[in-house]
């Protein structure tokens, strides 16, 4: 065996080293040193993020007989996820150092790094066995993380709901896989595409529907979204922010890879239409339910459902531009959503309030928090100077480039939904700035880690749209990808 193949997995191995160091630190250091676990993990992860930016990209390499593959795009999406995880780590510092967490904060970081490792495998897997292992190790520890607030009942309720739906979805997914295996005789993405040829087969439609349903659960696309609101509300805020951006981004990319690499030749015959239906339902229903939410975390859960629909628009285009637009959308979404969750987390840590009415008059007592929240809402809604506008612009453009009448209608529906979404995002801004009620939350100074996280995310919201470097480098990585060779 050629051991130099392991060099292709350098990002995974780097992450594994970070995980082991955190694990050893947590296990063997004296009790006093454990107070620094949060800082230790964050700095270690920062070093890893920088290193992976510098040395992570090694071009197109297949390793382990084609089971694992990395390319410029794969290392790019991993770097994007790293940035998101870094922000989550910074924002969760205060919560992790809280009184209730003292005994278990090391476990939180370990579980988080393991789920990230699973997502790396999902992104780079080119064999379904590796993919399923990645999917499970990305979703099982997350269930334990959701149940982390031992003293809050909602945390357990959210965890059991997440766990049962996650297992159900992976059973459905694997059932689809078994039919794919029966039809093609292989689990390699490449071999599946070759063996299936372009002969149409009814069993294939069933198999594909099962596979799409399985991944759709992870992405919370609409017929499979029912767990999302409860889990987001019940989980600790740090875990919710992780769940809503990082795991969604990884699953979206993996979804694209599976669809175009295994089933690319059935694009116009089978799954293009399935995706149209899913996208329309996801965006519309996510938006309509977001309007009537009173709890901020629940509200952001439905907002994230509709954002997942927009991310899917990058897949239906099925070209390099769509891939670039999707990755850019994920990057911008990470920054915007984490800014919103940063404010929610800061306020929840201080006062324990998460209802939307609690935010009435926030701008008078805590102008900086209100301002960050407003920028996050503007970016999520897609108002021009901020990054959210450009990500929506690119994703609509890439979809329209595909050029059929059906896709024009699809994009039109998505556009109308953007206007609807403006209403509920601005409801929050209205509560904070215009509402005449007495302020519910007294002025307070948030922890320095929370302020740092908010500065980074707000800076990202402003800079990502205006500075063209980010989109250019993503586009450059995406245009070199050979992902769309089989589309037909």
């Amino acid at each position: 065996m050629d051991y130099s193949q392991f060099l292709a997995m350098r990002q995974e191995i780097g992450l594994l080293i970070v995980f082991l160091l955190v694990f050893l630190y947590d296990t063997f250091m004296p009790k006093k040193a454990l107070n620094a676990t949060a800082g230790f993990t964050t700095i270690l992860f920062l070093l890893f993020t920088v290193a992976s930016f510098i040395w992570g990209n090694i071009g197109d390499v297949d390793a382990f007989a084609g089971m694992y593959s990395t390319s410029g795009v794969c290392s790019m999406i991993k770097n994007i996820l790293n940035v998101g995880v870094l922000i989550v780590l910074i924002q969760s510092c205060r919560w992790a150092n809280g009184e209730l967490m003292i005994m278990r904060r090391g476990e939180f970081y370990e579980l988080l790094l393991v789920t990230l490792f699973g997502m790396y495998l999902m992104i780079s897997a080119r064999h379904f066995l590796l993919f399923v292992i990645g999917l499970e190790s990305a979703s099982l520890p997350l269930a334990a993380m959701v149940a982390f607030d031992k003293n809050r009942y909602e945390s357990h309720e959210a965890a059991i709901k997440y766990m049962l739906t996650a297992v159900f979805s992976s059973a459905v997914f694997m059932m689809g896989l078994s039919f794919v295996y029966g039809l093609s005789g292989s689990l390699y993405f490449h071999d599946i595409a070759l063996q299936l040829g372009s002969s149409f087969n009814t069993t294939l439609v069933v198999a594909l529907a099962f596979v799409i349903a399985g991944v759709g659960f992870k992405l919370s696309l609409v017929p499979f979204h029912l767990w999302t609101a409860d889990v987001y509300q019940g989980a600790p805020t740090s875990v919710t922010s992780y769940l809503s951006v990082i795991s969604k981004g990884a699953a979206a990319f993996a979804f694209l890879v599976i669809l175009v690499q295994c089933f690319g030749q059935f694009y116009s015959m089978v799954w293009e239409w399935m995706l149209y239906a899913l996208i329309i339902a996801t965006i519309t229903i996510g938006n309509l339910f977001a309007i009537r939410q009173k709890n901020m975390k629940r509200f952001l859960a439905f907002s994230s459902i509709s954002q997942a629909g927009y991310i899917m628009l990058g897949i239906v285009g099925c070209n390099d531009m769509g891939l670039a637009a999707m990755m850019y959308y994920i990057l911008v979404y990470i920054f915007s959503n984490l800014a919103a969750f940063g404010v929610i987390g800061a306020i929840e840590n201080q006062t324990g309030k998460v209802e939307m009415t609690d935010y009435n008059g926030l701008s008078r007592t805590n102008p900086w928090l209100a301002c960050s929240m407003m920028l996050a809402m503007f970016s999520l809604a897609g108002i021009p100077p901020f990054a959210g506008f450009f990500s929506k612009f690119f994703i609509f453009t890439s979809a329209i480039n595909q050029g059929s009448v059906a896709i024009y209608i699809l994009v039109l529906i998505a556009l109308i939904n953007t206007i609807i979404s403006l209403y509920y995002y601005l409801l929050v801004v209205k509560a904070m700035y215009i509402s005449p009620d007495e302020p519910q939350i007294a002025n307070f100074r948030s922890a320095s880690s929370e302020r740092l996280g908010l500065w980074i995310t707000v800076g990202g919201i402003v800079a990502l749209g205006i500075v063209s470097f980010f989109y250019d480098s993503i586009m450059e990585a995406a245009s070199g990808s050979a992902l769309f060779a089989f589309i037909g």
Binding site: V132, F168, M174, F179
Partner: protein, 103 residues
């Protein structure tokens, strides 16, 4: 009588459908977990049968099944741990009682 592939596939499909039915209708969390196990085992049977009858030259399906069994065990262990936690805070493992967040 020769046992062809269909004699294995139909029971596995029935198992899968029973699992889905149980997942939807059962009210006890442990029973839901059992239904999930039924679904996962139906997947295992499918993989083994396809491998044995269609592609006997290679072992890919068998290996997938081995890993799938391991993953199913991990899932069950974690789910039971969470169910125990739920029982400790609410004294019930009936899903109708786990509804505090429904709006």
């Amino acid at each position: 009588m020769e046992l062809t592939m269909i004699y294995y596939l139909i029971p596995s499909l029935i198992m899968f459908c029973c699992g889905v039915y149980g997942f939807i209708t059962r009210r006890n969390m442990i029973a839901i977990l059992i239904s999930l196990e039924l679904m996962l085992n139906a997947v295992d049977i499918n993989f083994v049968v396809f491998n044995r009858f269609l592609f006997p030259g290679e072992m890919e399906g068998m290996f997938f099944t081995l890993f799938a069994i391991g993953l199913a065990a991990a899932e069950t262990a974690l789910a039971i741990a969470i169910i125990i936690n739920v029982f400790r805070v609410s004294n019930s493992i009936d899903v109708r009682d786990v509804n505090k967040m429904k709006h």
